[in-house]
């Protein structure tokens, strides 16, 4: 299991990096899909099996397809790469990347403060998650459904024009 | 209840005037005038004297926001009453002055005018600091509208500047009020905005000093004292005549009133500490205003600068904090209200007829308008301090009183008097004599204007020739009416009380000797003691 974590992490990092820095939208989306699948593997290695499945189905599946759909509709083909080329120059990246790096260093510094040893305990399978979702978080689930409803309504209204 | 009505009547009158404006433009004037007349009569009934044993001629407390210790606490003593009477009186003069000048939106104009008057009236009568602040601000907004809507070309700039200057000062005062509220609350456990509670709040000199500065900022801007005066010439000259009358006659007085009623009694030591600085500012103001007045070509601007000079005398009188000077300051406030108000009315009348305020384009009006010329001469003489008129009494008492405290300041202030003689006579010379421009010849004042000016002249003459009754009934002299919050104040009061006794015996007040006026020494002694 540990091996899975490290390999999946490496894949997630590399593919996310390529996704964010790429200049071809379709390629980037594919990298991003890979990244999400790798994240699913990470979740699996951490014992969150249910989440791993959700990640694969919803993130890597549904959401990415939506992206792809829009990119295709906007005929975002090879001819348009040039306008994104300018932002892939190192000069453009330096400032923001430094900012993000500072944030990252802070977080890593904070994390290395002391070990966070996972507590040994029960497995967190779908059952445990389900019990939590429909127990104490019941209203939260209802609210999440409202959230999806408003997303639906909004996409419907705005997409209609 | 009279006090509540005194504030509410102008407000209701204003609303009624506004509504009646739909019926015809003549209605609002009559409605406002009668409301103010009613108010004046109501206030005059207070002259009979208040309940025995109380230092207030009338007092009323109504619950307002008990949670934070703010109430509607109105009270009048001689000082408040004198100024409240002036307010109603000058309000009527302002209505009369805008009788024919304001032709558009008369209803709304009178609503604004009456709201300003209600605000001023409330400020003179409130004894709750929060309520005082509310009234203090209440006069601001309608005054802003009066300048911005009915003013002359530069009105927006003038209105904005007036509002922002005064508002900045007021906010500092609000911060100080809150500071005082909490200092008092933590000290005594009783949180209150009431003047009576807050008097004599124990606090360190540093705290007292900072809190005092907040009040001083608001009052000095309103007065105005140098260097916070820059809003005044613009606002006065851009405002419509009625607005100028209210502004010069009443709004400036609220600053002086605030100093007498709140600043000194609440922060006696701090006020004594800063007094020498203020003396200098006052003297600079007196001379600066007079000198700049000489250089003006705009009639209203000129009068505005003379106001700065006169208010310098008031400031000097107050910060001398000495019986004679204080009473001088009060007389001067009332007289300045009447004389400057009258000069603005005359300026307005000239403007109405010639459509200009440029002195260079005036001259020789005496031949065509002798009555107006005579009136102008009278008020100009009053303004320069001709003996026999009220302003003289005021200035003389201020100089006499402040001489004991700060001789140098008094001497320099007296120099200002010379300048004021020059500019006053210069106005008359330029406008009413001198070479007449080609289109010379203006209509003389009509009956309405004559009546207004005559009543104002009567006030000046009365105060100049028989000030006794005034001091007896009103003024800072009625010892019983003074708050006893500070030793200094009591010192000043006993001084005046002694003088008043002699005055009743028929001697001119200016020549009366001061009884026990060692107030300032006492102040210094206290300071050194700390």
């Amino acid at each position: 299991m540990d091996g899975l974590f490290y390999i999946a992490s490496a894949i997630a990092l590399v593919s996310t990096f390529r996704a964010v820095t790429g200049s071809n939208a379709v390629h980037s989306l594919l990298y991003l899909t890979v990244s999400f699948l790798a994240s699913a593997a990470v979740f699996y290695s951490l014992g969150a099996h249910y989440i791993a499945a959700l990640e694969a189905i919803i993130y890597a599946g549904a959401i990415m397809v939506l992206f792809l759909f829009v990119v295709m509709m906007a005929s975002y083909g090879p001819g348009r790469e040039t306008e994104e080329k300018r932002v892939t120059r190192p000069g453009t990246w330096a400032g923001p990347a430094a900012l993000a790096a500072i944030l990252l260093f802070e977080l890593v510094f904070v994390l290395t403060d002391r070990g966070l040893v996972p507590e040994e305990g029960r497995a967190l399978g779908p059952k445990a998650v389900g019990i939590a979702l429909f127990g104490p978080y019941l209203i939260g689930v209802e609210l999440a459904s409202v959230l999806l409803l408003v997303g639906l309504l909004g996409a419907y209204h705005i997409g209609r024009k | 209840m009279i006090l509540v009505w005194a504030v509410v009547i102008p407000l209701l009158g204003g609303l009624a005037a506004w509504l009646s404006g739909r019926l015809g433009s003549a209605f609002p004037r009559w409605v406002s005038l009668s409301a103010l007349a009613l108010d004046l009569v109501l206030l005059l009934t207070l002259l009979d004297g208040g309940p025995a044993g109380s230092r207030w001629l009338a007092e009323i407390r109504i619950e307002w926001i008990p949670v934070i210790g703010a109430g509607i606490h109105l009270a009048a003593d001689g000082l408040s009453l004198a100024l409240a009477l002036l307010t109603a009186f000058l309000g009527m003069a302002a209505v009369a002055a805008s009788w024919s000048g304001i032709r558009e939106r008369t209803g709304f104009f009178h609503l604004c005018l009456m709201s300003v008057i209600a605000g001023v009236m409330g400020a003179f009568l409130s004894l709750d600091l929060l309520l005082f602040y509310v009234f203090w601000e209440l006069m601001l907004v309608p005054m802003f509208f009066m300048v911005a809507v009915w003013g002359r070309e530069g009105r927006y700039r003038a209105a904005l500047r007036f509002f922002i200057f005064t508002q900045a000062g007021s906010l500092l005062m609000l911060a100080s009020i809150l500071g005082l509220y909490f200092v008092h609350g933590t000290e005594t456990g009783r949180y209150s905005f009431d003047y009576a509670d807050l008097l004599g709040t124990p606090m360190g000199l540093a705290t007292e000093f900072w809190l005092m500065l907040g009040f001083l900022a608001a009052f000095a801007v309103k007065l105005p004292a140098i260097p916070f005066h820059t809003w005044l010439p613009e606002a006065h000259s851009e405002a419509p005549t009625g607005g100028s009358v209210v502004l010069a006659g009443l709004l400036l007085k609220t600053g002086a009133y605030g100093m007498i009623r709140f600043l000194f009694p609440l922060f006696p030591d701090a006020a004594a500490t800063i007094a020498p600085v203020v003396h200098v500012l006052a003297v600079v103001g007196i001379i600066y205003g007079a000198v700049l007045a000489l250089g003006q070509t705009d009639l209203k601007r000129l009068i505005a600068y003379t106001s700065i000079s006169h208010m310098g005398f008031v400031l000097l009188g107050i910060f001398a904090w000495e019986g004679l000077a204080l009473n001088g300051a009060l007389v001067l406030m009332v007289c300045h209200g009447a004389s400057t108000g009258a000069l603005f009315i005359i300026a307005g009348a000239v403007e109405e007829r010639t459509h200009t305020l440029d002195i260079g384009r005036m001259g020789g009006f005496w031949s065509s308008a002798p009555k107006m010329g005579g009136a102008a001469l009278f008020f100009a003489l009053a303004s320069l301090g001709l003996p026999g008129l009220g302003n003289f009494i005021g200035e003389f008492l201020v100089l006499l009183g402040s001489f004991r405290v700060n001789a140098a300041a008094a001497v320099f202030a007296a120099l200002g008097l010379i300048a004021s003689a020059v500019y006053s006579l210069w106005i008359i010379q330029k406008v009413f004599h001198g070479p007449a421009p080609p289109e010379a010849g203006i209509a003389d004042i009509g009956g309405r204007e004559a009546a207004t000016l005559a009543s104002m002249a009567a006030v000046l003459l009365w105060l100049g020739l028989f000030p006794g009754p005034f001091f007896e009934r009103t003024g800072i002299g009625t010892a019983a009416s003074m708050p006893t919050g500070s030793e200094i104040e009591r010192e000043a009061v006993t001084g005046v009380a002694g003088r008043i006794g002699r005055e009743k015996s028929g001697r001119p007040p200016g020549l009366a000797r001061h009884g026990a006026g060692e107030g300032p020494e006492e102040m210094r002694g206290r300071q050194q003691g700390k």
């Binding site: 540990d2 980037s28 989440i51 400032g95 | -």
Partner: protein, 102 residues
């Protein structure tokens, strides 16, 4: 159960988050910006999984489900708006969305 330290998972989430943030700040194409936001949200979800892993509680996973519904709702509305923008202006450049000034 796995023996991966929780901070490793959290560290991974932090790196992904930083990558996403860089993307938002640098990219001018709206699709990329939106993708980067998805990366950030996913990273935050991963942090919750790591936290839940640390405490052996399902709450982290529950939060992930909520984050997932947000991601879905947000992306659907956002893509609709972006699509409409593209139709009107013919571009996906964020900098072109700058008629509002002041």
């Amino acid at each position: 159960m796995a023996t991966v330290p929780a901070e490793y998972a959290l560290g991974l989430a932090a790196v992904l988050f930083a990558l996403g943030l860089t993307g938002v700040l640098v990219r001018r194409n709206m699709v990329y910006v939106l993708m980067s936001i998805e990366v950030m949200l996913n990273a935050a979800g991963m942090a919750f999984i790591a936290a839940g892993y640390r405490w052996a509680e399902p709450d982290g996973q529950v939060m992930f489900v909520f984050i997932l519904s947000l991601a879905a709702a947000e992306v659907s509305v956002a893509l609709a708006v972006i699509f409409r923008f593209f139709h009107r202006t013919g571009t996906l450049d964020v900098d072109k969305a700058s008629s509002l000034k002041g």
